[in-house]
């Protein structure tokens, strides 16, 4: 029975992620446009863009190699697998034992490397610039994420996201300074990993400031659709990771029935909407920072993560 529920929730979760990722992106764009006093595009615009791109024939640079053709598939597969592992509305999905935070970090790194290689493939200056910056930012973001994993593993005893959400849901944890610090660190990492303001601007094509867009400048047609889809997936993935770990309210417990799934889906949608709206507000209020201020921003996140662990040692030292 529990296995069946696990399989069903997993399938439902996969469908939610597949369909919801571009929608979430569309809603955030809409909210941002409204906040800035524009009418903004329809929330389904990202889906329409994907359909349009998939109908077009790709133009590939003469200097590009097989990497340009393979990399988008690697990136989408790794983003999809990572997104499938993170529980959204129910715990105990059939892939839950695989949902290790370090594995998710590894899958994100796989996608990032694929993108950087694709950026370098055609031998154009902007691709190289974007790849170098992306890998350098990741050098700060990744340790911050691992330190967050350290805090979770001390509190929950494991780095499995499903189990972390479970132990945070039980309420035995309480409000902790460490968790608050970790929350801020995770937000900073999420902003950087998704190339959002203030680290990068997702809607800019101004040459000297772009990071993410610089790498996919040569992509078109199906390849561009895949790259856009994987970045929507990453946003979905990060928001649901933060929602699941820090706000595990409403998560259906393993083996529960369809009714609690519905509650879980409603809660998940609310959490995503809230986080997405917060992101839109945040992005409307801030300007993009200079590229070489980013290490300070992410370094601060890294140190907050370290600080969270240190405080946790203090409180567990005499437990």
């Amino acid at each position: 029975m529990e296995t069946l529920a696990g399989i069903l929730t997993q399938l439902l979760h996969m469908a939610l992620i597949l369909a919801g990722a571009p929608l979430l992106l569309g809603l955030i764009r809409l909210a941002k446009a409204r906040l800035m006093g524009r009418r903004g595009p329809h929330p389904l615009q990202p889906w329409r863009d994907l359909r349009k791109l998939l109908g077009k024939r790709a133009v590939v640079a003469e200097t590009a190699s097989a990497v340009t053709h393979v990399a988008p598939f690697v990136a989408v597969a790794s983003a999809l697998l990572a997104a499938f592992l993170i529980p959204s509305f129910a715990r105990g999905m059939v892939l839950a034992p695989l949902a290790d935070l370090l594995l998710i970090a590894g899958l994100l790194a796989l996608g990032r490397v694929a993108m950087a290689l694709a950026g370098l493939d055609a031998g154009t200056p902007f691709g190289g610039l974007g790849a170098a910056r992306e890998m350098a930012f990741a050098a700060f973001a990744e340790p911050a994420l691992i330190l967050a994993a350290l805090t979770f593993s001390i509190i929950a005893g494991t780095t499995n996201v499903d189990a972390i959400a479970g132990s945070f849901q039980d309420g035995a944890v309480g409000v902790r300074v460490s968790l608050a610090l970790t929350f801020i660190a995770m937000l900073a990492v999420a902003v950087s990993e998704n190339a959002r303001i203030p680290v990068d601007n997702p809607s800019t094509h101004l040459e000297l400031t772009m990071v993410h867009e610089a790498m996919i400048l040569e992509a078109s047609g199906e390849q561009l659709a895949l790259w856009d889809y994987q970045s929507a997936l990453r946003l979905m993935l990060w928001l649901s990771l933060i929602a699941t770990i820090f706000f595990p309210v409403g998560l259906a417990s393993p083996g529960s029935g369809p009714l609690s799934w519905l509650v879980g889906i409603a809660a998940f949608a609310t959490k995503l909407a809230a986080l997405g709206f917060a992101l839109a507000v945040f992005e409307s209020a801030l300007a993009k920072m200079r590229v070489f201020r980013v290490p300070e921003f992410l370094g601060a996140a890294l140190l907050l993560g370290l600080l969270a662990a240190v405080f946790l040692f203090l409180s567990t030292g005499f437990a």
Binding site: G174, R176, V177, A180, L181, G299, L304, V310, S315
Partner: protein, 221 residues
């Protein structure tokens, strides 16, 4: 459970104060530094008020009110006025790099914990953590004073130190109110003196960089 919650919230507020100490270290622009300091003042006032509820000590509400009025409203407003008068919209370039300062800050917090832990071996577990937070805030304030060249940033560092002391004081049950009041008065005095010095410096030396004072030391002649 309620006692636990009371502690958790007090702790979270203390953690917030510490976090803002880091934000103070991280910020470059003076206006942002003042904003962050005002937020720290609000959090300290909230922490005092919460302790007032948790400990059932009405005196702490007065402390909270004073802290709020002075640190969240009066001093930031005054500093803002000074900024405006001096037409200082630029950045407070730190003497140490931001990254180095932040790493130094985390090391100081680790040091604070290592010191507090054995020194308070008998005390209640929760009090120890609060004390560690407060000591960290004090140390970070001092770090801010030595890592910034700008006089205003240094003043804010000094008041960060005072915020840490206040945090320690409200955590310990039964702190006499008079001590608190006198510290607050002292800090206000300090702020006034510092503002005057800053104004004078600006007038005479055309700079807020305290390095500039060196040239005017008597013994160097």
């Amino acid at each position: 459970m309620l006692g636990n919650l009371a502690y958790d919230i007090a702790h979270l507020l203390g953690g917030g104060v510490l976090l803002i100490s880091f934000m103070l270290l991280y910020q470059r622009r003076l206006a942002a530094v003042i904003n962050a300091f005002a937020m720290q003042g609000v959090l300290v006032a909230l922490a005092a008020a919460w302790q007032g509820i948790a400990q059932g000590e009405p005196g702490l509400f007065l402390t909270a009110a004073i802290a709020f009025a002075a640190k969240a409203v009066a001093i930031p407003l005054a500093l803002r006025l000074v900024l405006k008068r001096l037409d200082l919209e630029g950045s407070a370039e730190p003497a140490l790099g931001i990254g180095a300062t932040m790493i130094g800050g985390v090391m100081l917090v680790a040091l604070a914990i290592l010191v507090v832990l054995p020194a308070t071996a008998g005390a209640h577990a929760l009090a120890r953590e609060d004390l560690a937070l407060a000591l960290s805030v004090v140390l970070l304030g001092m770090l801010m004073m030595i890592s910034r060249r700008n006089a205003i940033a240094q003043v804010i560092g000094l008041m960060g130190v005072e915020n840490g002391l206040l945090l320690a004081a409200i955590g310990a049950a039964g702190m006499p109110l008079v001590v608190e009041l006198s510290t607050a008065a002292l800090v206000l005095m300090l702020a006034v003196v510092a503002a005057v010095i800053a104004l004078l410096m600006r007038e005479r030396l055309q700079s807020l960089d305290t390095q500039a004072l060196h040239r005017h030391r008597g013994e160097q002649g």
